[in-house]
Amino acid sequence: MYPEDYRYSSEHEWAKRENGRVRVGITRFAADRLTDVVYVELPQVGSEVRFMQPFGVVESVKAASELYAPVSGRVVEVNERLRDHPELVNQDPHGEGWMIVVEATDPSELDRLMDAQGYRRHIGEA
């Protein structure tokens, strides 16, 4: 359920390394807890994000939550499809529901995050 090659933050974001770039989204656990996502507010391409600082907001019928960047760097891609299809976050949080891609300035920050097993323990599913 939680891909082994992703890293996970305590705030329920995942980070996937892709040749020096890092793809970011929220976990299945977070998507389920939020229930139906209705809106995702993402940064602009070119903006800077900082490690474990808010970079956007995800809103469901139940709550609005901040999104925390699992790595520092420059945003090089945002998932424009979420604008019209926020339900992708619920349907495929670890895939089609991705949020941003970051050109990481310090990829070693990812070492400070959890691996899949650590994350499962974090959410009480291990």
């Binding site: 139906d36 019928v61 609005a64």
Partner: protein, 484 residues
């Protein structure tokens, strides 16, 4: 789904609700009175209806509402207590209701006296030194409180950039801090439901302007370490802000000023029984300790001998934050509430509010998860996790089903730190019979979750409008600012 038309759909061209006699003053052509660029080319798109159409339309709509005058309304954090009808009469006394806000002070002495005396009473209950009546609601009170704190630090030449907020806080707290330009730092709660003192200490330093604390907090629990928290916050020179939305639990028993708070807002529309929700505007009085008094909004009501006046001469004031002097009619209601109850009565308010909440908490415990098992104050947070895991029924479904039993739903999915939260605040004005009837309904719903979960999942079944598709409504916004 719509069983009667919008008021716009009732419109018939030329229909009017009234007729006026011919004016005996010669008419001036509009073009001579209004510059051409300000003149409409087409008439405004208002519904053209008769008075009877309007009365029927809105009376019918009002039947769709659920109000405290109709049934039990245990909406956590909102203190939906009974609003005595006597207050309505008093607020409508022509001397108050028809008083123009620009009436000269010497002709408005009664109103000014009422404000001044209300201020004295609220000061005493809060353990504070000065008040402002201007904020229009709780969140507005927060804004004023933080503006006052910011002005205080500015006057001392201190540059502080952070406001600390617990993870159990109402969303208005971090929103307010951000609006005032502060960086918001969130601190977690501990296993007993208190603010985690050790975690707080990690963030406390000379960058901190204030801690915004709610006491009792949004879990309905008294912050057991509030004295130590105040001590640590003051040790770094920061201010203690109380979100007084939950003042109903301690009014007349303990005073925020004695707990170490420097500023607080009170929701008169909660604790002091003025109508709210759809029933009326709020009133978020802010009370401060003396070191913050110079920064309060102007004007401030003061007494000189036996005369009352509005003091505008406050050079350090944050300025005016609202037209005139606050929602005056609500201040009249709150004054009536205080005077009719008196000190003994107010203390009984808090005692009964706490007793009722604990009664419900204990009686519901066999059926619903209660994450924090300790004596609560005026409200408590239960959870629908058991029903969700066991029966696949969510808190949302349970809340909707309560409507079929004739009760307004509790606050749900807040505070955010409790999964499937059901936040119940009965208030002091309910009878034992009502509380028991509510317990019966909650127990019956728990049984339905097990035996007929589909019934709960598709509730409500008896209301004029059934379950709405909230997700579709939020994803496919259908908003417009003029009729199509």
């Amino acid at each position: 789904m719509r069983d009667f038309p919008l008021i716009f759909e009732r419109s018939v061209p030329g229909r009017r609700g009234f007729g006026l006699p011919e004016s005996d003053v010669p008419a001036q052509p509009l073009e001579e009175l209004v510059p051409p660029q300000a003149l409409r080319r087409r008439p405004p798109a208002l519904p053209e209806v008769s008075e009877l159409d309007v009365v029927r339309h809105y009376t019918r709509l009002s039947h769709r509402n659920f109000s405290i005058d109709e049934g039990f309304y245990p909406l956590g954090s909102c203190t939906m207590k009974y609003n005595p009808k006597l207050h309505e009469e008093l607020a409508r006394l022509p001397g108050f209701a028809r008083l123009h806000p620009y009436t000269p002070e010497e002709l408005a002495q009664g109103a000014l006296q009422l404000l001044w005396e209300l201020g004295e009473e609220l000061r005493e209950l809060a353990g504070m030194d000065a008040v402002t009546f201007q904020p229009a609601a709780g969140a507005h009170g927060e804004l004023v409180g933080l503006l006052v704190i910011r002005a205080y630090f500015a006057s001392r030449g201190e540059k502080r950039t952070r406001v600390i907020v617990p993870d159990s806080a109402h969303g208005t707290n971090p929103a307010t801090a951000a609006m005032v330009g502060y960086e918001v730092v969130t601190v977690r709660s501990d296993a007993r439901g208190n603010l985690d003192l050790a975690a707080l200490e990690q963030y406390l330093d000379e960058r901190t302007a204030a801690l915004m604390l709610t006491n009792p907090n949004t879990l309905g629990l008294f912050e057991e370490q509030v004295d130590r928290i105040s001590e640590r916050v003051h040790a770094v020179g920061a201010q203690m802000y109380l979100d007084g939305a939950n003042f109903n639990a301690m009014v007349g028993i303990t005073r925020p000023g004695d707990q170490g708070f420097d500023v607080m807002h009170m929701n008169l529309h909660k604790t002091f029984s003025t109508p709210h929700g759809g029933g009326g505007p709020g009133a978020g009085v802010v009370a401060v300790k003396s070191h913050l008094e110079p920064f309060l909004p102007v004007p401030v009501v003061v007494r000189d001998g036996d005369r009352y006046r509005l003091d505008f001469d406050r050079p350090q004031s944050v300025g005016r934050v609202r037209a005139f002097y606050g929602n005056f009619a609500n201040l009249v209601r709150a004054y009536a509430y205080l005077r009719t109850l008196g000190a003994e009565g107010l203390r009984a308010v808090a005692e009964h509010a706490v007793l009722h909440a604990n009664y419900l908490r204990v009686r519901l415990a066999p059926y619903y998860e209660i994450p924090y098992q300790r004596i609560c104050k005026h409200e408590f947070v239960a959870s629908g996790v058991r029903q969700k895991r066991r029966d696949g029924v969510t808190t949302r479904d349970i809340a909707k089903r309560l409507l079929d039993y004739g009760f307004h739903a509790p606050t749900v999915y807040f505070p955010l730190i409790v999964e499937e939260a059901i936040m119940i605040e009965p208030t002091e004005t309910e009878s034992l019979q009502t509380l028991d009837a509510f317990v019966d309904a909650m127990v019956a719903i728990d049984r339905e979750c097990r035996e007929d979960p589909e019934k709960v999942r598709t509730a409500p079944h008896t209301t004029a409008v059934g379950r709405l598709d909230e997700v579709r409504a939020a994803r496919q916004l259908d908003l417009r600012w003029r009729p199509a």
